[in-house]
């Protein structure tokens, strides 16, 4: 089993060193790749100076495009699993092993879920999460408790799909579409930290638009998409 940790980074000069140094020191058994998504600050220079494994995108593609570049890297280098890992220090590396274990049981997508066992707080911030959960539940009959969690492990056949598909992004609507296509999705309880430095790209209007986009996509688009044909899980082909 080979796991690639994909770390998309956009203007993360304050966090990237701490996050990657911790991965290198404490988890040398995993490979990682930083995808610098055309940062305007010196994220790329920091990575080069420290000698990190870096995909340096010359222009900003957004999270989906950056993550996809990481998936292409995973596909090209024959990784069996890939995990999306935030560069801002919200994700905790100690849960990677737990997620990977769950994925090795034959799951295609394993979500690092804040609410798999714990209750979701009744806050305005979680309203979006609830709406998206509800939309997924109506359309796929599956309960995904933390659809917006960015910490997800993908299996080899997911890597091959996500690496090239125009409309598969690391977002809840793709998870819904994959469930519909017959992929096995499961959740594992994790804890997450608040981001330590820098600012989140999600402000209130952006978060609203994101929610609208997700709910419309799950309710009105993913339902009518014909399911993608999945490869049979099994011994991986050595190509």
């Amino acid at each position: 089993m080979k796991l690639l940790i994909i770390v998309p980074a956009y203007n993360e000069r304050e966090n990237i060193e701490r996050v990657i140094d911790q991965l290198i020191q404490d988890y040398p058994q995993y490979s990682y790749v930083v995808v610098n998504d055309g940062s305007k600050d010196d994220t790329a220079q920091i990575c080069r100076r420290k000698g990190y494994n870096l995909i340096d995108l010359p222009v900003n593609l957004g999270l989906a495009g950056g993550f996809q570049a990481g998936m292409q890297y995973a596909e090209k280098h024959g990784f069996d699993y890939a995990i999306q890992y935030d560069a801002d220090g919200q994700h905790r590396a100690e849960y990677i092993g737990k997620l990977l274990e769950e994925c090795e049981k034959g799951n295609d997508i394993v979500i690092g879920s804040r609410f798999a066992e714990k209750k979701k707080p009744l806050s305005l911030r979680m309203l979006g999460s609830r709406l998206i959960s509800g939309a997924i539940r109506i359309t796929t009959f599956r309960k995904i408790k933390d659809p917006t969690s960015g910490m997800r492990v993908y299996s080899r056949r997911m890597i091959e799909l996500f690496a090239h598909h125009t409309n598969l992004s690391p977002e809840p609507d793709s998870v819904a579409y994959m469930i519909k296509s017959g992929a096995k999705v499961s959740e594992v309880q994790v804890e997450m930290d608040e981001r330590i430095a820098g600012v989140s790209y999600l402000n209130a209007p952006k978060a609203m638009f994101y929610m609208l986009r997700m709910v419309v996509s799950i309710l009105f688009i993913q339902v009518f998409r014909s399911p993608v044909r999945l490869k049979e899980p099994g011994p991986k082909d050595e190509t």
């Binding site: 010359p58 419309v216 009105f220 688009i221």
Partner: protein, 117 residues
């Protein structure tokens, strides 16, 4: 709004939805870009089913007939969309420019190295 107009609007919206869904399954359009058309089609369907909404807006804005309001509304939405599209196209063009410049410069180094060997 006449019943015929309402039916025409509903049929056009449904066709727009079907067309977008087809393009999505062909991977010809990104979902992010299709959302605008899908939400737009839904708004038109709702306006056609509940003509009270444009009538109410007419009274509010002092417009004579709902059809006129519909024209104004659509032109306004399309102008806003066009405005954002202009920005998108500009950004895309500068990204393509940056990419090809970077590609060319990076490859220039490659050729020099090959010549030295």
């Amino acid at each position: 709004m006449s019943d015929t107009l309402r039916i025409v609007l509903i049929v056009a919206s449904v066709l727009c939805l079907l067309f977008m869904l087809r393009k999505i399954s062909q991977s010809k359009v990104r979902i992010d870009d299709a959302i605008f058309w899908i939400v737009g089609a839904f708004v038109l369907v709702i306006i056609s089913i509940f003509p009270q909404i444009p009538s109410w807006c007419c009274d509010l804005l002092g417009i004579q007939t709902p059809v006129n309001f519909l024209f104004l509304f659509m032109i306004f939405i399309l102008l806003v969309k066009l405005f954002y599209m202009t920005i998108r196209v500009s950004q895309l063009e500068s990204k393509v420019k940056e990419l090809s410049q970077r590609y060319a410069l990076d490859h220039m180094d490659d050729e020099v190295k090959q010549d030295e060997k």
